[in-house]
Symmetry: C2
Subunit: 124 residues, 2 copies
């Protein structure tokens, strides 16, 4: 099982991938059979190709992530609060909490994103 | 399904219950068959009696909760970052993220708490 510090580092790499607008940096963090449920309640994207397609699409709006407080870990999970700012058309901001579940190799096997329209500002 | 605002109100009541050091206020937020996994990776407390016993024990150290940023919701879930401060023997602080899953009646059916020893300060 990855350590606290290893899980935190993966979260930091995830944030950096958005700074670089580099979907492959994100793909590299996931297990080949990983799932992405973003937001929670929508169908999961499963496997490398689906995850690549999802993040390639997501990064078209050049979102930038800012961690809001320390990364929490528990067993094989990390949970972290962050805000997303989108570049197009002024100040758009989304408040999100993600959870990552890790496998023994320290790859993300399950990502879940918690946010709703009420967590979005500047979209009207 | 409860609305965003209804789920946020339950989270606020949860925080207030700790302000009042009142386990019954917490118990009232949970469904009769609700589960509490605190922290994630430990055996869940299931059902009203187990939940009451857990929170009665937890409140012995008079923890006070402070929300850190807005409550996020998605489908039937709320996720929220907070810090816990404990009264005994100086400044002890734990950074936590909780998720609540709700039933149709707006009661919490599943609580999961994400934190590890690395999220604790002042305990040595």
């Amino acid at each position: 099982m990855p350590t606290h510090d290893e899980m935190v580092r993966v979260v930091e790499r995830y944030v950096e991938a958005f700074d670089h607008n580099d979907p492959e940096m994100v793909v590299a963090l996931f297990a080949a059979d990983g799932t992405v449920e973003d937001p929670v309640g929508t169908p999961a994207h499963k496997g490398t190709e689906a995850i690549r397609a999802f993040y390639t699409r997501s990064m078209k709006s050049t979102p930038k992530l800012t961690l809001e407080g320390p990364v929490r870990t528990a067993a094989d999970f990390a949970a972290f609060a962050f805000s997303v700012r989108l570049n197009f058309g002024g100040e758009k901001k989304i408040d999100v909490i993600d959870t990552f579940r890790f496998n023994e190799e320290g790859k993300v096997v399950e990502m879940r994103a918690y946010f709703s329209p009420q967590n979005m500002q500047g979209f009207d």
